[in-house]
């Protein structure tokens, strides 16, 4: 793509969408389609459907693969890497941080309960 802002726009959008992809990434797929087919003329509907079909047919992380193919279409290999990271990075970070906070909250909670029980 000639537009240098395209990869940044795509990556930012994927970061946002992957952060809210409750129920798995397919739940935000219509929004991705809208962004890359209609908002930006990066690919045809047919190509988007092809990426989806391919990602589903190949074993492994389907949606990360699909987004890397979308990124590849927009910005070649760097786009593929950026899109893959934008798809699986944010949820991983959220899980990781949430788990740490959760454990800490639970730990302080347990201490409170224990203290109340003993005294």
């Amino acid at each position: 793509m000639s537009d240098p802002a395209a990869p940044i726009a795509l990556t930012t959008h994927l970061v946002l969408l992957s952060s809210i992809s409750f129920g798995g990434f397919p739940s935000v797929l219509p929004d991705v389609r809208n962004f890359v087919v209609f908002v930006h003329p990066w690919m045809t509907d047919r190509e988007f459907a092809n990426f989806f079909a391919l990602a589903q047919a190949i074993p492994g992380p389907n949606m990360i693969l699909m987004m890397s193919l979308v990124g590849w279409k927009v910005w070649g290999i760097p786009g593929a890497i950026a899109s893959a990271v934008a798809t699986f990075g944010p949820p991983c970070v959220i899980y990781f941080v949430a788990h740490r906070i959760w454990n800490r909250l639970l730990a302080s909670w347990q201490r409170t309960v224990r203290v109340r029980l003993v005294r």
């Binding site: 969408l17 809210i20 409750f22 129920g23 798995g24 397919p26 739940s27 935000v28 219509p30 929004d31 459907a49 092809n50 990426f51 989806f52 079909a53 391919l54 990602a55 589903q56 047919a57 190949i58 074993p59 492994g60 992380p61 990360i64 693969l65 890397s68 193919l69 590849w72 593929a80 893959a84 699986f88 991983c92 990781f96």
Partner: protein
């Protein structure tokens, strides 16, 4: 922390690289009619699987009317009203939490 990153990338990186190379190889040859037809068939199957996943997720909750209200709201908002996902998500999750709270209060 490093272990977490290593595990996550190991889990994703190898299948993703293989899949990506296969995918690109395939997409370079979509001018072949046979491959185009195969892709068309696979995408119908994949779309069907996606719909089946949605139905399977709803089935355990089929006796709860709240679940149908929330699911119906999401479908109307996304498919019919074409609202942005974030708006629908914020709307349905807040309604869902309130409904769940009501349900819990009633059953107690």
């Amino acid at each position: 922390m490093i272990g977490a990153i290593a595990a996550a990338s190991g889990f994703v990186l190898i299948p993703l690289t293989i899949g990506f190379l296969l995918g690109v190889l395939y997409l370079e040859h979509t001018h072949l009619a046979v491959l185009r037809r195969v892709l068309g068939g696979v995408s119908s199957v994949a779309a069907g699987m996606l719909i089946a996943t949605g139905i399977r997720m709803l089935l355990p909750h089929r006796s709860r009317s709240q679940a149908w209200i929330v699911a119906g709201g999401a479908i109307i908002g996304l498919a019919l009203a074409k609202l942005p996902l974030l708006v629908v998500l914020l709307g349905t999750t807040s309604v869902s939490i309130v409904l769940a709270e009501f349900g819990a209060a009633n059953s107690q």
